[in-house]
């Protein structure tokens, strides 16, 4: 037993190093975010006069930056509520279409062997190899030519196209985890392929599909480059990412900016941690070999 303990924990020096790495990494990861939250709770004058007092006293906490950031411009706010509405519309639309376009393809890649692992990996690699900023050049020209710049639907089309490969990759990993014997049993019992998909495969894969949808939602919610290219001149249509980035360029008070940054982060953080286990297994499935 004592030997096993040594194996599990190692010598004292290694143990100290391990604790030090964890403490430093945690501080490095969380400090900027905690700083952002703290700055969103203090008035601008307090930040400028005393940049080092980070934690506001309880009676000095000022939550007013949040409603001010969210209110529309005509009500003296910064319009973040509207940007959230735009981003919700685009991100939810992207999720629905990206899943619809990839779920059957992913299943086919796993079970029907004519379109295998290699071609999916090749495709994902091709999409990744082709830089977003380079892709932006023809898409910008095309969308301008057909008059879809300045429209949320145009941006949604781009997002669907950009997220289908990732969705395909994650869904394939989830489908692979379903034992084939269940489907074989159903087929022997006379189940047709569409019924098999609807009644058996999709319900089993549903947690994976939800996790993929969440990941696609995060990508669409966080996306900046295409929103900048297509919508920058069209303030009512700004998405959350574009909105916060544009406000950074203006002389918007720091607490408002920090409140906005925290507000747009909350939905993705909640979503990610709600599905953390599934998301992580879907994303890292290729890493285990």
């Amino acid at each position: 037993m004592s030997k096993r303990r040594t194996v599990a924990q190692g010598p004292l020096g290694v143990h100290v190093l391990r604790v030090a790495v964890i403490v430093v990494a945690l501080a490095f990861s969380l400090a900027p975010v905690l700083y952002g939250i703290a700055m969103s709770l203090r008035p601008m004058s307090a930040i400028v006069n005393n940049p080092l007092s980070l934690i506001p006293a309880f009676n000095q906490i000022d939550l007013s930056s949040y409603p001010t950031a969210l209110r529309s411009e005509s009500q003296g706010g910064f319009g973040l509520g509207r940007f959230i509405g735009n981003s919700m519309f685009i991100a939810l639309g992207t999720v629905i279409f990206a899943i619809a376009f990839s779920v059957l393809g992913a299943y086919a890649a796993v079970r029907l062997r004519f379109f295998g692992k290699r071609s999916i990996n090749g495709m994902i690699l091709a999409v990744y190899l082709f830089p977003g900023i380079v892709l932006a050049v023809p898409l910008f020209v095309l969308m301008s030519r057909i008059g879809l710049t300045g429209s949320l639907v145009g941006l949604m089309i781009i997002y669907v196209a950009q997220t289908v490969p990732v969705a395909l990759y994650m869904l394939r990993n989830y489908f692979q985890a379903i034992p084939e014997s269940i489907e074989e049993a159903a087929l022997i019992d006379g189940c047709s392929l569409p019924v098999l998909l609807r009644k058996i495969v999709l319900p089993i894969a549903m947690p994976g599909i939800v996790a993929t949808g969440l990941y696609v939602f995060m990508i669409a919610w966080n996306e900046y480059l295409f929103a900048l290219l297509f919508l920058v001149q069209d303030r009512p249509r700004w998405t959350v990412s574009l909105g916060i980035a544009q406000l950074t360029e203006f002389t918007v008070p720091v607490p408002i900016l920090m409140a906005g940054s925290v507000a747009i982060t909350i939905p993705v953080v909640i979503g990610f941690f709600a599905a953390q286990r599934l998301l992580v297994s879907g994303l890292t499935a290729g890493a285990e070999k």
Partner: protein
């Protein structure tokens, strides 16, 4: 069943790629778009000639390589350190893991806004700490200083700042990949080695690291590809100031500021080609290594 998926790939990868090739040998500017058809394009090789002979292209290339290499190494070393440190289960490990993932989950725009505030020369906490605790004479403009001399050494301050930001933002993913691999690793070889008297360093280099080789190579590839083409993170922090004009920002400048589609496409094509060459080199070297 695969038709919708295949259609999307054609629309997203193949057609745009052909369009980039077409534009790169064409004389097109943004104002030409409304009356653009396939018949009225004037062809030229000027775009490539300009790109390849321009000083700014090659300096951008150098910056991109430095940025991509440093961030790749930083994220993988960080991910390895944290992954190994969190390998053994203990109370609260799940919570610590969740905390470590925050920078990855955070929208890049929110992260950049927070970092800009942190590093602000007037009211940012980093400069305030530097002045009161470290005794700096003047605040450091972290996001607009191409080079500053510290103790006789020229330091590319802003480039290092954007590299630090990218490492901060991408280490969690490296950590997740490495953890996924560590979790399926059998414990017996390590226990046997420890019983035979191997020390921690020997166990790491001779037993753990060889098993991590595959995932580390995968991460090198992915991280290098992503940071080579990184636009958002740098553009949001600096807008390309302070010596951070990477190729992606050059392309954006050609397209939007200079309104020259042909030139932007030529830059983009050269950038894609360089990336493809670098990666095929890595893949070939790796294949050869596996065979030996």
């Amino acid at each position: 069943m695969v038709a919708p998926t295949a259609l999307v790939v054609v629309l997203v990868v193949i057609l745009p790629f052909l369009a980039v090739i077409l534009f790169s040998v064409a004389h097109i500017r943004l104002i030409d778009i409304p009356r653009l058809t396939l018949n009225n394009i004037t062809f030229t090789t000027d775009n490539f000639a300009h790109a390849l002979s321009s000083q700014s292209f090659w300096s951008g290339f150098g910056t991109t390589i430095a940025y991509a290499s440093l961030t790749t190494i930083g994220a993988i070393v960080g991910g390895l350190a944290v992954g190994l440190a969190l390998r053994r289960p203990f109370r609260g490990r799940g919570l610590i893991r969740a905390g470590l993932l925050i920078p990855y989950v955070l929208p890049v725009v929110a992260a950049a806004a927070i970092w800009k505030t942190l590093l602000n020369p007037q009211y940012g906490v980093v400069n305030a700490l530097g002045k009161t605790i470290l005794g700096w004479d003047a605040p450091i403009a972290f996001l607009s200083t191409t080079s500053q001399t510290f103790a006789g050494v020229h330091v590319p301050v802003t480039l290092f700042t954007v590299v630090a930001f990218e490492i901060w933002k991408t280490t969690p993913l490296a950590f997740l990949f490495i953890t996924a691999r560590l979790q399926v690793m059998p414990a017996e070889p390590e226990e046997a080695a420890a019983l035979d008297g191997a020390n921690s360093r020997q166990v790491f280099w001779h037993i753990i690291f060889p098993q991590l080789r595959g995932v580390v190579i995968l991460l090198v590839l992915l991280r290098f590809i992503w940071s080579f083409q990184s636009f958002n993170d740098i553009y949001l922090l600096t807008g390309g100031a302070g010596g951070t004009q990477v190729l992606a920002i050059r392309i954006y400048t050609e397209l939007i500021t200079r309104a020259d589609i042909g030139s932007a496409a030529a830059y983009g094509l050269v950038m894609t080609a360089i990336l493809a060459v670098l990666l095929s080199f890595v893949v070939i070297v790796n294949r050869r290594g596996e065979r030996l």
